[in-house]
Each structure stands twice: as structure tokens, then as C-alpha cells.
Amino acid sequence: MGGSVLLIEDEPNIIEAIRFILSRDGWRVDTHSDGLTALDAVRARRPDLVVLDVMLPNRSGYDILHDLREDPEFKELPVLMLTARGQKKDRELAEKLGASSFMTKPFSNGEVLATVRALVGK
């Protein structure tokens, strides 16, 4: 363990819970809550993995993902998308835009941990 995760999410209590379970699992967790500046946050933190909520204030998670994949430096960066709409087309759009994994709210802590571990290959 010991990788770093950037959690981009705007619900304070979800942030707190995910931060806690990942930290306890040995991850270093940074958080960011604004869609507009999320890309800058990724560039500044250079995490091993990004957990990205779809519905963020000011900018959609899909737009952020699209821009990440345009940047050669973040082409391979594992990105776990979170959404409160589990519709097929949402999942398809996430896949098309290059999400590494996709999780529908409400998810369990176990799922989050297992997916994060699997994505970073540890």
C-alpha cells in the first residue's frame, strides 16, 4: 500500500467516510470539491489514482475525465468514476471517455477498497 488517491467529490460526509477508509487502508488521500479547478488539482497532486464524482459543482466529471485523457501525461492514470445515476448510457459514456472503472452510488466501503486496490495493482 501507500499510494496516493485524489478524491474529487463535493459531498462533505462522503469525502470524510471515503477518506477515512482509504487512509486506514494505507493510502494518502487528498480531496478536492470544485469541478472547475479539478484538473489543476490533479496536475498539482499527481496522484496514483483519481476517484471522480460525475456531478460536481461548476463542471461535470465527464468533462474533467475527457480533458485528463487528452493530456498524454494522464492518459494511463487510473480513474474511478462515481455516479448517482446508474443508467446504461452513463456507464457507456464513462467507458467511452476512458474511465478505468465505474461505481454507482450508493456503494459499499468494501467495493471502494477492492476497486481502488485493483486499479493501482496492489
Binding site: N13, A17, G61, S108
Partner: protein
């Protein structure tokens, strides 16, 4: 399906349908085959007992042979069958069916009409589930809160050692989230409850007024023909359309203003001016020596035939807070019924520059084929004197024009309401859209 118009031709058709030879049918009816042949080719008239006999032999109604089973009914039946790829009915016998069982045939067509109506309703509701901003926001709220609770309680339930401070914090978070969840679900249930009861959907006075006006085609004939008809009488005549005293008061106030509008721009001369090609509200207001909003409101009461393309203009009015106070939709442009409108409407540009007319062409996002010419102006009325703030009102008139008409440059785009607007990077966006994620920009290929 085309049917022979003449009785003889019909007899021939039904005979062939039945697989009878001329000689067989003639024998059954007690006439010679050659005579039947003349009848079938419409060279001899047929009626009375002989027609009854022929009908009996063919197993159809006499009326079916003599006058057809009502072209309208037959056509309606054919239309019903046409709605199915494989109707599985003897379509070619629709006229016979309509002739023999007119009651049942009408029932089939009525049923078809009802089914179509229900299909439209389902489509509307489906659309509402997908695009209703309130519903979408509530569900998102509920799911987010549930996620937070599930995650937090999951941490507490593992039985692992957790610092007391963290434990207290998580307990507090769960408590807060459960409160939020309770409120969100209550709001959701309340909303769905109202939504399920169609009578109560139109509970807001403004909704009731607009629904009523829509039924009148946005024109109050009583005030056009006799300008002295009492507003209260018109409201009383509408009966249960207005369910509350607030709705009746709103309607009365609307009618009083309508009366004043109609006085300033009387129907005859006004229609004449518009028919002569004058549709510019500014010039109309000058010609009738009245103010601009009045001319705009008056234009919005004219029926479709006065306008190119056959689409009457829409009208939106807001008060000083930007709250919509009147919404007459126009083809392709339906102002939001819930929540606030799009902040970049010319209506609001005018609101911030009172007494300055704003003339702009706009396109509605997602509808490239229709553009709207808009005229807007805001006025302030110091009804309560110098000491009190003015009553500000902004009015916008919209006329649809086909995109091919007018200048090539795309006018600037507007939406109806942020939550259902797909415009990206809108500087005036107030809240995130539920749509822009599902409509990838062209750059995605």
C-alpha cells in the same frame, strides 16, 4: 383502402371476395347472369327487394352495398390497422365490418384514439422523469445522502478500533445525513403525490390562468367585442377553472389589464395594421400612441394566421426579482413551469436596463432550425409614490422565424432553465445541468 363508389362495382367486389361466380349469385337472387353483369357494371340500377336479396346472398348489409359503410368510419378503421406493421385483421373487409357493426367499429376507432392519447401521456411522463429538474435533483440528493450514510455506518459497523473523536464525528455525520434524507424523501414523496393527481398539478394561480388562457387561444373575445364586460363576470363564467380566490384575483387583474390594452389598441384598427405588415411592436405602439409593453402584449393575443409560418408569438413577463409572472409559450420555446428561467434571456437584459428596448435574435439550445426574434423592455411604475420602491416589470415578445430566413450568423443561444440546458461553458450558469453530460460536444468525435 380505396372502395368502389358505385353500388354495382361494390356488388362485384363482394362477390369476387366471396369466390362466387356471376351465374351462382344470379341464380340465388332469381335473375339472369347477364342482368347481374349489367348491374355489376353499373348499367342497370338496383334497389329495393333485389338489392336486399343480393346483400343477403353476399352476406353483407344492404346499406353496405347501397351507400358504403360511411367513408369516414371505414377510413378510421383503415387508419387503425395502418398503425400496426402486421394488423392481423382482414383489412380489406373494413368497410364490411363498419357496415355490419357500426357500433363496434366506432368502438374500435375510439379505443384507438384513447390508446394514442395514453401513449402520448406515457411519453410525456417519461420525458418528465428524464428531464424534470426537481425530480432529478431530489433523486440525486437522496442517493448522495444514502451513500454517505452507508459508507459512514459501514465504518462504524466493522467493529474495528476507531478513535473516540472520529467515532463521535461519524455518529454526528450519520445523524445529519439521516435528517437530510428524511427531508429529501419527504419532499420527493410530496412532489410525486401532487404529480400523480392531475387535478392538483395546476394548483398555482398562474398555472390556472395560463391553462385557461390557452383554452381561449390567449384571446378574450368578450373584451374584444364589448369592452365593458365586467372582469368578474368573465371569471365567474370560467367557473371551477379557477380553484382559489388567489387565482380569481389574478385572473381579474389580468383581464383588467387586457381591457385597457384592447382599449388602447382596438381590435379592428390593430388587426388591420398587423395585416398590412406591421409587426414591429415599437412602431405599433407609436402608431397607437401607447407604450411598448402594451403593444407587445396585444401582439401576443393575435391568432396564428396573422404571422408568417403560422406561429403566433410568445410572451414572457417577469417582475423586478426576475420571477416569471406570465408565460405564453411559442412553438419550440416553453418557459419553465418550475424554478427560475435562463439568466441570459433578453428579458433579463432588459430588466437590468429599464426603459431601454432590447431587440435580439436568439436560438434555443438544441433547436437549430428555429430562431426567435425577440423584443424586450422593462418599465418601472412608481405606483406607491416617491417614497416607495418602483414596481419593475420586464416584458419579452418572441416570434419564431425559420433559420434559413434572416442573417447567416447564428444568434446567441439561450436555454430555458439551467438544469435542463446543454450549453457548455455558459458564464451565467447558476447550477449544473443534468443534460450536458449526455450530449458530448463534437470534440469527442
Amino acid at each position: 383502402m380505396a372502395r368502389p363508389v358505385l353500388t354495382g362495382s361494390r356488388i362485384r367486389q363482394y362477390r369476387i371476395d366471396k369466390g362466387l361466380r356471376q351465374a351462382e349469385l344470379a341464380r340465388e337472387c332469381g335473375i339472369s347472369p347477364s342482368y347481374l353483369n349489367l348491374i355489376e357494371h353499373n348499367r342497370r340500377k338496383i334497389g329495393g327487394a333485389l338489392l336486399n336479396n343480393v346483400a343477403g346472398a353476399l352476406g353483407v348489409n344492404t346499406a353496405t352495398l347501397s351507400e358504403g359503410a360511411g367513408a369516414a368510419l371505414t377510413e378510421a378503421l383503415d387508419a387503425v390497422a395502418g398503425g400496426f406493421a402486421e394488423p392481423g385483421a382482414d383489412i380489406e373487409r373494413s368497410e364490411d365490418f363498419a357496415g355490419r357493426f357500426p357500433g363496434w367499429a366506432r368502438l374500435v376507432t375510439q379505443q384507438h384514439a384513447r390508446v394514442s392519447e395514453l401513449e402520448r401521456l406515457v411519453e410525456t411522463l417519461n420525458d418528465r422523469l428524464t428531464h424534470d429538474p426537481f425530480l432529478s435533483a431530489s433523486l440525486h440528493n437522496v442517493l448522495s445522502t444514502v451513500t454517505a450514510i452507508r459508507s459512514t455506518s459501514g465504518i462504524l459497523a466493522t467493529g474495528d478500533e476507531i478513535e473516540a473523536a472520529w467515532q463521535a464525528r461519524f455518529h454526528r455525520n450519520i445523524y445529519e445525513d439521516s435528517q437530510r434524507l428524511a427531508e429529501a424523501t419527504e419532499a420527493l414523496v410530496g412532489y410525486l403525490d401532487v404529480g400523480g393527481d392531475t387535478d392538483r398539478v395546476l394548483s398555482l394561480p398562474l398555472d390556472e390562468l395560463e391553462a385557461w388562457l390557452s383554452d381561449q387561444d390567449w384571446r378574450i373575445d368578450a373584451l374584444e367585442t364589448d369592452n365593458d364586460t365586467a372582469a368578474s363576470d368573465i371569471v365567474a363564467q370560467a367557473g371551477s377553472v379557477f380553484s382559489s380566490s388567489a387565482a380569481r384575483a389574478l385572473a381579474t387583474a389580468f383581464l383588467e389589464r387586457y381591457r385597457a390594452d384592447a382599449r388602447a389598441l382596438p381590435l379592428g384598427p390593430f388587426e388591420e395594421a398587423v395585416l398590412a405588415g406591421e409587426r414591429d411592436p415599437m412602431r405599433l405602439s407609436a402608431r397607437f400612441s401607447t407604450d411598448l409593453p402594451r403593444a407587445m402584449r396585444r401582439l401576443s393575443t393575435l391568432p396564428a394566421r396573422f404571422f408568417k409560418g403560422g406561429f403566433p408569438p410568445g410572451l414572457v413577463i417577469c417582475d423586478g426579482s426576475g420571477t416569471l409572472a406570465f408565460r405564453k409559450p411559442v412553438r419550440g420555446f416553453a418557459p419553465p413551469r418550475f424554478g427560475a428561467a435562463c439568466a441570459v434571456w433578453p428579458l433579463f437584459q432588459a430588466l437590468h436596463r429599464p426603459l431601454t428596448p432590447v431587440r435580439t435574435d436568439v436560438a434555443l439550445v438544441g433547436q437549430d432550425d428555429v430562431r426567435f426574434q425577440t423584443w424586450s423592455i422593462a418599465t418601472s411604475d412608481y405606483v406607491a409614490g416617491f417614497e416607495r420602491p418602483p414596481v419593475v416589470e420586464s416584458t419579452m415578445l418572441l416570434m419564431p422565424v425559420l433559420a434559413s430566413v434572416g442573417e447567416e450568423d447564428a444568434p446567441y443561444q439561450v436555454g430555458t432553465s439551467c438544469r435542463v440546458c446543454a450549453i457548455r461553458d455558459c458564464p451565467a450558469r447558476r447550477e449544473p445541468s443534468i443534460l450536458n453530460v449526455s450530449e458530448p460536444a463534437p470534440k469527442f468525435g
